[in-house]
Symmetry: C2
DNA sequence: TATAATTAACTAAACGTTCGTTTAGGCCGG
DNA sequence: CCGGCCTAAACGAACGTTTAGTTAATTATA
């Protein structure tokens, strides 16, 4: 009954997520998405009010899916350094598994619609960010928790944002794309800094 | 005198840069750009072969403009830590001055055209990246120079990529948007790491 | 239990708008 | 009077969206 309806709606979203990630909001047309789903454009309007709603739902669903497991994992570990390693490890692996996650996140950051941003922040970003901020505070360091949380996230994420350029730049090696290499580098840099005496 | 009234290539590019940065490639139409320039859409095709060429030239010109001064500044300083501070300071200030620079960079990273990416990498990214990689090597640390360079860039850049979400997240303060605050945080974190004994 | 009513899910076709781009021609300084 | 720079107008294609009607399954009624 309503089970089948929900599944169809989710089918559309799950197909839309990688397409929105790769092509962007304007880059993916309702006709293109409909043809990928195997349906008429008008059928999409049976499930979603308009393209805006479809996009917002796709982004929300994508982030709920990807960040579902980390919250429980984060709460388990006690020792700060170990928690950092667990988080970085999860984050790197999650980004490495599919690039769509990172691309969608990057596209959302470029989104200039404040209302959409505000809703998405409350529903999906806030909880994970607070956990990372909490993790940063557990180090009892001199750093501002807010800035530190963003630094940790950015330090991991940027290695994936630049993946397409990185291979064209000097010093590039195949290992730089591997999850473990990035995870080790980031955790070590965060732990010790540059001045390793 | 009367020449000034005529629009040349650079006038168009300088108007296109912030518009492409804010709206994206698909988001900015030739008609919209033409009206901002104060000209007919067909006139744009007198200066540029098509929209692709206009976009590529705009991006190239933007990056040559923004990164013009740092190269000389980077070469001057000798002491590693001081050079890092100079670079981070310049980078933060450059990003803080106009957000278009960062937005355009972020959009370029999402660009999936390999040919455009390859050309832009050689003409504009390579020199600056090599300088940063060189800076990283001067610390004689255990870190991979390539990964370290990306980490340094990402650590700075991400504070600006997240500027629109950051204000909606807990722990946000007005000072977090200021150039000096970010620069101090990043240099200190890079220098010492989390475990400040 | 058989049948009528209702509903979800879809298709075919078209709406008006905007897109990138082209064509044909006009203006004006050198 | 030529060539660089522009305009007016239009091209076909693609865009988001709507309307009207069809199919199949579920629910209500006799």
């Amino acid at each position: 009954m309503s089970r089948l309806r929900k599944k169809n709606r989710l089918d559309i979203l799950n197909l839309a997520i990688p397409l929105f990630a790769q092509l962007g909001y304007e880059g993916l047309s309702m006709r293109n998405l409909a043809s990928k789903v195997g349906v008429t454009p008008a059928a999409l309007y049976h499930h979603f009010k308009d393209k805006d709603e479809l996009y917002a739902d796709a982004v929300s669903h994508a982030f709920e899916q990807k960040t579902a497991d980390i919250k429980t994992v984060m709460a388990a570990e006690e020792e700060p350094m170990k928690r950092l390693e667990v988080f970085v490890g999860w984050f790197v692996r999650a980004l490495n598994k599919d690039q769509d996650f990172q691309k969608l996140l990057q596209r959302v950051m470029l989104d200039s619609d404040p209302q959409r941003m505000q809703k998405l922040t409350k529903t999906t970003f806030l909880e994970l960010f607070s956990a990372i901020q909490n993790l940063g505070e557990s180090f009892k360091s001199k750093y501002d928790p807010h800035l530190l949380a963003i630094s940790i996230i950015g330090l991991v994420l940027y290695h994936f944002e630049t993946s397409s350029v990185r291979s064209l730049l000097p010093g590039s090696r195949a290992a730089h794309g591997k999850a473990d290499t990035i995870a080790r580098h980031v955790t070590s840099l965060l732990e010790n800094g540059l001045l390793t005496h």
